[in-house]
């Protein structure tokens, strides 16, 4: 693939990045999506809206999050300086609150009082339940039964926050199935319901809107690294589920051609279809991702050769999804961003390494970025810097990891 020189990544008016994105939805959803697009576009150009959002992100969520120089991890890698963008320190423990807060403000502007959302790892569900509690909105969270099992702590948190958590028993009982149920709810209750989608996925305007609400990560990081080191980093590294924490970090750097953008997908436990969630893993032998349509958007999708969507596996519920956000598909095909994968085992290794060397327990999702970051740092001179997005904290995963180590 050719290395590209794209300097911007903006969709057309209907949400297409090249052939990716767009709107592939039942007719009933076109009207609410149009309404949402209109309100988002208005808000996007409204200084008062951003002023209120910034203030809430500051006073309620604790932004800006620090950019931390991870010196022992750096020494361990023996190369470039490793910086961690500490999204784990924001309120509710992950980057998901940036988007939840932005969309909740929109929902309020639109006068919608019933909020629905899907969740995988439970971090988006917790973030949504949190903003709903704060604004006094009704909150219903759809979650796959398998994810409820492996992220039980977050289920309890959501209920404490007053949300109703609905178990989804279809398919593999993970994120994709939760999104299906949320879409069915929305189709049925379009008139009074706001669908607060949690990643840079789904039909237009969600991929664009979620990115805009997550861009704060990259904007802060750019300023922070420049003031810490005086120059741009050589690489940004982030895990990619649907793609919101990664696009949020990457986007403000897209014009900086010297900065490598590296997304890390879930390599799971094996190469074969069903055993991983690496959508750009296109080798025929492994039955990988091809361009397709899932849940409203065109992108790379893990599927069989007759177009049935594949089940996926990842140790982390938040990366366990068959499609990737459409802007990532565009950045991948244009060559501007690179995508690699880390296995379950490498994620666990990153999890413990970060805990032992830095005193930070990362979410299993974020843990996928650690070992690749060490590898990349190791190939670069000490005068260079790289940034790893520590998208969330690992409290929710401690139980699961403990069980793995006991058995």
């Amino acid at each position: 693939m050719q290395r590209s020189t794209i300097t911007a990544s903006e969709p057309d008016e209907d949400g297409h990045w090249g052939q990716f994105g767009g709107r592939y939805v039942p007719e009933t959803l076109v009207a609410p999506l149009d309404e949402l697009t209109k309100e988002f576009t208005r808000a996007r150009h409204d200084a008062d809206f951003w002023c209120e959002l910034d203030q809430r992100l500051r006073d309620y969520c604790g932004r800006p999050t620090p950019l931390f120089h991870a010196q022992r991890l750096t020494a361990h890698a023996g190369g470039a300086q490793i910086y961690l963008k500490r999204e784990d320190l924001s309120h509710t423990g992950s980057h998901k609150i940036n988007n939840a807060m932005g969309q909740a403000l929109l929902a309020r502007r639109m006068g919608k009082r019933r909020i629905i959302a899907e969740t995988g790892a439970g971090q988006h569900g917790v973030a949504t339940a949190t903003v709903c509690a704060m604004f006094g909105l009704q909150c219903i969270i759809y979650m796959g039964a398998e994810d409820m099992r492996r992220q039980a702590l977050n289920v309890f948190r959501m209920r404490l926050l007053g949300a109703e958590v609905v178990a989804v028993n279809a398919g593999a009982r993970t994120l994709k199935d939760a999104i299906n149920e949320a879409l069915r709810d929305w189709v049925t209750n379009v008139h009074d319901t706001y669908y607060l989608l949690g990643s840079a996925l789904g039909p237009h305007p969600y991929p664009l809107m979620v990115r805009e609400f997550q861009r704060v990560i990259g904007r802060e990081a750019r300023e922070q690294i420049l003031s810490a080191t005086g120059h741009l980093p050589r690489a940004l590294i982030a895990c990619v589920g649907g793609g919101s924490n990664s696009i949020g970090l990457f986007h403000p750097f897209i014009g900086d051609q010297s900065v490598r953008l590296i997304g890390v997908e879930a390599g799971g436990r094996a190469d074969s279809l069903g055993e991983h969630a690496a959508r750009f893993h296109t080798s025929v032998a492994s039955g990988g991702g091809r361009i397709g349509v899932l849940q409203g958007t065109m992108s790379y999708v893990l599927q069989n050769d007759t177009g049935q969507i594949a089940t996926t596996h990842s140790i982390s519920a938040g990366l366990d999804y068959a499609a990737i956000g459409p802007e990532h598909a565009f950045l991948h095909d244009s060559g501007r961003a690179e995508y690699i994968c880390a296995s379950d085992a490498e994620a666990l290794e990153g999890f413990t390494l970060c805990a032992e060397l830095e005193g930070i327990i990362p979410a299993l999702e974020s843990s996928h970025a650690i070992i690749p970051a060490v590898r990349i740092a190791c190939e670069l001179p000490q005068s260079d810097a790289i940034i790893v997005n520590l998208s969330g904290r690992g409290d929710k995963d401690v139980q699961l990891v403990a069980e793995l180590y006991v058995t």
């Binding site: 592939y24 939805v25 007719e27 009933t28 009207a31 361009i291 599927q303 050769d305 177009g307």
Partner: protein
């Protein structure tokens, strides 16, 4: 000539409302689906919709979701659905609408689908999650192969979009009776009648109403203001209930006839 247009013209001449049953290809198995197509034609279907099973049917309620799951467990593919139509069409003449989510069609290929669907005797294609704004290339290819692209309209569809949809649609317009997923209901809403009236103002195409139509009373109610009624979940529910019965096909046919009974 569009067979579907002829069908509606004939309905109009005879002053009858049309009956459009829906089944999922491969539910409970392909051989039975073929027999069901033939049986439903004999029972009085004017058009039949054949669903292609999909792993993630977001527009469907539980009944049709389970039908899709049963078919996928049998490994049924789009190709199988086309074969099923081709075989049934050796015995019946009723127009068949292929009803699918977009991704299986996309993977099959646009030209190939149009070619093979036409050869199999399919008359029209309806893609649940392909709105006209994204459908241009597909609409053109289908029409080049004399297949009618059918589009859905919903109570939430704006007036402006009704016009755009009517321009791209051929054969008939499928009016979704209410906001929601497919599924049988006890009551029909008034949304459907209002919607059909709005469609009539911008299009001369016949209008079929579906989603929730499940009893003989519903059919008669729909026929008052629309040209045809689609019955999906109510029939699929019968298939599910009878799936191990040796006389499933006859009994589903009987159920279809009971929907058409005038008292």
């Amino acid at each position: 000539m569009s067979r579907i247009r002829d069908t509606f013209a004939e309905l109009k001449r005879s002053g009858r409302g049309g009956f459009i049953p829906f089944i999922t290809a491969g539910d409970p198995d392909l051989a039975t689906s073929e027999l069901l197509l033939i049986e439903l034609a004999a029972a009085g279907a004017d058009i039949i919709e054949l669903g292609v099973p999909f792993s993630d049917p977001v527009a469907d309620g539980e009944v049709i979701q389970r039908a899709s799951e049963r078919a996928l467990r049998n490994g049924v593919t789009l190709q199988d659905a086309l074969t099923c139509v081709a075989r049934a069409k050796q015995q019946i003449d009723v127009p068949v609408v292929l009803f699918s989510y977009f991704n299986p069609l996309l993977q099959f290929g646009r030209e190939r689908l149009a070619n093979e669907a036409k050869q199999a005797g399919v008359d029209a294609v309806l893609v649940t999650d392909l709105i006209p704004e994204e459908a241009q290339a597909w609409t053109e290819t289908l029409q080049q192969h004399e297949l009618d692209p059918i589009f859905l309209v919903a109570p939430t569809t704006s007036g402006e979009r009704l016009v755009r949809i009517a321009q791209q649609a051929r054969g008939f317009i499928y009016a979704v009776s209410r906001a929601g997923v497919t599924g049988a209901r006890d009551e029909m809403t008034h949304d459907a009648e209002t919607l059909v009236r709005r469609v009539r103002m911008v299009s001369d195409l016949p209008v079929a109403v579906g989603f929730g139509v499940s009893t003989a009373e519903h059919l008669r109610e729909v026929w008052r203001f629309a040209d045809a009624a689609v019955v999906g979940s109510a029939i699929v529910r019968e298939i599910e209930r009878l799936k191990t019965a040796p006389d499933l096909v006859q009994r589903v046919g009987k159920f279809a006839k009971s929907l058409l009974a005038t008292t």
